[in-house]
Each structure stands twice: as structure tokens, then as C-alpha cells.
């Protein structure tokens, strides 16, 4: 359980995190979303005591991280893959980390096997690919078999097999009753992994809700209808809470009425339908709608 209350971080005149409050509960995977510069990483760094908050506070398992006498068994952290000395082997790094808590070398070998690093365990970390570095970071986070996992962009640089492994692994850990907080830019990945989503934008919490609820609230369910008699169908569908827009190529995008109701109505009027496709909103659409005004580094639309 991670509880942040009014967490704030200022760097000079810029406010990276602005009065953020949230609770990350055990037994589910909580996704941390937000545009670049939204304050996700800064918030994670404050959770584990690397950065001191300018105001507010955050606790893990009921106390400040810095007060823990056994941080590695309480919290596993992957902040970025580059938190490893490039001159040390993966095994050397993990042994040094394990030694602080008296964790035996047998556990080091376990996490090396778990993350698929056996072949490169004795290679210097500086020679690792991004994906291998990521696996090493995850291995370090798992050393103490922690109750809470905080993973910043864990699938960044991983191959598809690694991405799937991380997804299934964190879901498994959450099912065991552990607390998992992870950030990712990959919306499809997040929608498959997270149960609950916290969206940050410009240092503030924009949304904090179960995934399905968030998607439902910020997207519209639409039905794509293709018919040679588009005008007839449009007038047949006309109702106060139904909106019909031209989707091009003789297709209509209809919202406010279910696909089956459209089909029934068309049959009644003898209007032939060539396509009837219900489309539910995605996390990506919800995210885009939510963060529209909060994107700090916006790319130019391609005309």
C-alpha cells in the first residue's frame, strides 16, 4: 500500500509535482500514466526517498520509505535501467545489493534465472543491451521478494517475449496480494496489465479510477454502420440522444444507440446494411482525451 498525500516537488520556479494525492492498493496492478514531464518519475523517486518532497508526504506499508529497516523486502524498485555501475557484472551488482540485507547468494542466482540473465550474469553491465539492463533492473527489484513493486517503464526496450513475461509476472504478483505500481507509455500494454489507473498531467492527478471506469467515462461507444442508403438510415436513427456522423466512404459513425437496435431498425425499414461494427473506446483514447490540455511536449500534427 502506497499512500501519497498532497505530494509536491518544486525545482526552483518549476513545480514538477503539484499537490498529488493517491492510494495504491494491494492485490491489483496500478498503472501510472502521463505525458513526458508529467511528474511520474519524480513521484516514484519521492516514494523511495531519493528526492525529498517540497511539501506533503508519502508512505509505503504505513511508514516513510527511509524509516524502513528492510527496504528491499518491503519495496522492489526499478526506477531506470541505468541504476547499475557499468563496470560491475550483473552478478556482482546483485550480490552487492543483496549483501545489504543479508540476502544469500542463492537468492541472487534465483532472480538471475527468473529474469533469464544466466548467459550474461558475469558480463559487465556496461555491455548490456537496453533489454538486458531492464532485466537486470527487474532482477534487483525482486531480490528481497518484496511486498510492493514500483516499476518505472519496466517493458522499455524489452522484446515481445519479455514484455509478455513482465505483464504476466506483475499480474501474478498482484494476485498474491502484493502492491504493484507501474508506469508505461505503451497504452495497449497498460490496458492489458493494469486494473486501476492513475493519470498524471503537469504534476497533477487527472484521473484515479479503475481501468474500465476510466475508459467508459472518457470515451464514447460507437457503432460503425455501412449502408448504401446512408441518408435514409440517418433519418431513421434520429433521436435526441443519438448522434450520427459521416465516417466517410459511405459509413456512418453512430453513438447513443446499441448495434442490435440499429440492426433491428434497419431491418424494419428494409435498409440493407453492409457492416455493423460496435467499437468500444480504448485506454489510449481515454488517455488522449484526458491529457489533451496537459501535454507539455506536444508533437506537431502531420498535415
Amino acid at each position: 500500500m502506497i499512500v501519497a498525500e498532497n505530494l509536491t516537488k518544486r525545482y526552483g520556479s518549476t513545480t514538477a509535482v503539484d499537490g498529488v494525492s493517491f492510494t495504491v492498493r494491494p492485490g491489483q496492478v496500478t498503472g501510472f500514466l502521463g505525458p513526458n514531464g508529467a511528474g511520474k518519475s519524480t513521484t516514484m523517486r519521492m516514494i523511495v526517498g531519493l528526492d525529498a518532497p517540497s511539501a506533503g508526504h508519502v508512505s509505503v506499508s504505513g511508514h516513510r520509505y527511509n524509516e524502513s529497516r528492510s527496504p528491499l523486502t518491503e519495496v522492489g524498485v526499478l526506477l531506470d535501467a541505468k541504476a547499475v555501475h557499468t563496470g560491475r557484472s550483473a552478478r556482482g551488482h546483485l550480490r552487492a545489493m543483496a549483501a545489504t540485507h543479508g540476502i544469500p547468494n542463492s537468492r541472487v542466482d534465483e532472480v538471475i534465472a527468473l529474469t533469464g540473465l544466466e548467459a550474461v550474469a558475469n558480463k559487465r553491465a556496461g555491455k548490456f543491451s537496453l533489454g538486458m539492463g531492464q532485466r537486470l533492473g527487474i532482477a534487483a527489484a525482486l531480490l528481497g521478494d518484496p511486498q510492493t513493486l514500483i516499476l518505472d517503464e519496466p517493458v522499455n526496450g524489452l522484446d515481445p517475449e519479455g514484455v509478455r513475461w513482465v505483464r504476466e509476472f506483475v499480474r501474478h504478483l498482484a494476485q498474491e496480494g502484493r502492491t504493484v505500481l507501474l508506469s508505461s507509455h505503451l497504452m495497449s500494454e497498460m490496458s492489458q496489465t493494469a486494473d486501476h489507473v492513475i493519470v498524471l498531467g503537469r504534476g497533477r492527478v487527472l484521473a484515479d479510477a479503475p481501468l474500465a471506469e476510466l475508459v467508459g467515462a472518457w470515451t464514447r461507444n460507437e457503432v460503425l454502420v455501412r449502408t448504401p442508403r446512408a441518408a435514409d438510415l440517418a433519418s431513421a436513427l434520429a433521436a435526441p440522444d443519438v448522434t450520427v456522423t459521416d465516417a466517410g466512404n459511405g459509413a456512418l459513425s453512430v453513438s447513443g444507440i446499441s448495434a442490435s437496435a440499429i440492426g433491428d431498425l434497419a431491418a424494419e425499414r428494409g435498409i440493407p446494411l453492409h457492416e455493423l461494427t460496435p467499437r468500444t473506446g480504448s485506454l489510449e483514447e481515454a488517455y488522449m482525451a484526458l491529457t489533451e490540455g496537459a501535454v507539455q511536449y506536444k508533437s506537431k500534427e502531420i498535415a
Binding site: L50, R69, P71, A96, T100, T115
Partner: protein, 271 residues
Amino acid sequence: MSTATAPATTAPTAPRPAASTYHLSFARVVRSEWIKLLSLRSTWWSLGITVVLSVGISLMMAAALRDFDAGFAPVMVIVMPMQFTMLVAGILGAIAITGEYSTGMIRSTLTAEPRRGAVLLAKALVVMVVLALATAITYAIAVVATAPILTTGIDWGEPTQSILPLLAGVFAMATFALIGLGFGFIIRNGAGAIAATVGVLFVLPIVLSMFSFAGESWQWIVDLTKYLPVSAAQVATAAGGDDVVRGLVTLAVWPAALLLGAWVSLRSRDA
């Protein structure tokens, strides 16, 4: 990577019962720092260079001493290479911490042990012990190697002519490394910390001594020279010297002050 494809079988099935025995202790943090320092090639390179340089210079001095009597105690042949190896010690101390900042390792270190004072203390202890051991071994090799060359051997019956200057030399080398470590914690950047360390150990003595040509009114600057680590080390290691204690105290004050500054910096700044 076959294991990574089957999370269901390789994932821990239940929280480990032994987990409760895993917790921090200062001794464990020291052990971790010990593993960290000795698992880096740069450490072994630095120590190797120190040994070779030190023993080599000792042999040359011992040989030179055969041809003319420089009028100093034979034990100085063992201790005097410090003038050169001090830089290696200082640099080793500096990169012991700046390497963590440049690679991001410091974030792993401080999440494993969030009490930053303990990290600093453990690192200082390990750097000190490693340098002391390396110097002691270097001296032992140098003593054995120079023994056949020296016309007048080291007088082991007289501590001030033998063991005391050697112990002071061991202490001084550990001190130089801690000065580097202190600068490393404060400056965080490798090049900057090495520049500061070399500046204090090597450049400052030369600069200050230049004022000896400047006349009476500048004498106070020249007097400051004796409070520099290197001058203090020379005084402390002098065989039968009068100011050995003053030298040792001056030597101890430098790392103490720098590490205090390092502690303040480490505690108050974001990692």
C-alpha cells in the same frame, strides 16, 4: 531465456518465510560496500599501480642510497614513494563514489540503504581499510625487496626509525583516499572530484611554496603549506621527527572535515 517464458512455474508461489530475517545492518552495508569496491576492475588497476610504483621507486632510492649517503633513515626509502602514489589513492577514493553518480548506481545504493549517513560511513570505512591493507602489503614487499640493496638496513629495534614511520605512511595513504572520497561525495562529478583532489594534494603545495619568493609580507601563505595534507604526511612519517603528532592530527582533520561536508551534502541533496 527459456525460463523467462514460463512465469507460472518460475515465479515465487508464496511469500518466502525466510524473508523476515533479511534486514539492514551496518555490518551488512559495510560488506556490500566491500563487494562493490573489490568487484570493480578500476580498483584493482589503481591498487596494482600503487604497488608497482611504490616498490619500484623504493628500489631505485635504495640503489641510489648505496652511491651517496643522503643522510636520511633507510626506512624513508619505503615511505617516500607516497609523494607519487598519493595521487592514485586520492583518485581511487574519488571514483569510489563519483562512479556511482555517473552510472546511476547511487540510486540503487540509496534505495537499498536509505540512511545516507550509514552509506557514507560504510564507504569511508571500506576505502580506508582497502588503502591501509594495500599500503601495508606494498611496504612489506618493499622492505623485503630493498633489504639486499640497502647498505645500512632499517633499524627495527628503534620504532621511530622503523615501524612508526611505516604506520604513519599507511595512515597517510588511507587519508589521501578519504580526501578523494570526500570531494567525490561533494562534487559528484568524476573529473571535478579528481581535479579537486589533485589540486589539494599536488598543485596547492607548489602554488603556496611559490610565495616563498614573494618576501616577508607573504610569508603567512608559505606557512599555510604545512597544514596541507602532503606536508602533514611528510612531517608524520619523518623518522624520529619532532612534530609527528601534529602531522598525524593535521592529516586526520582533512578527511574528517571533508567527510562532514560530504555528509551534509548527501543528506540535504536529492540523489
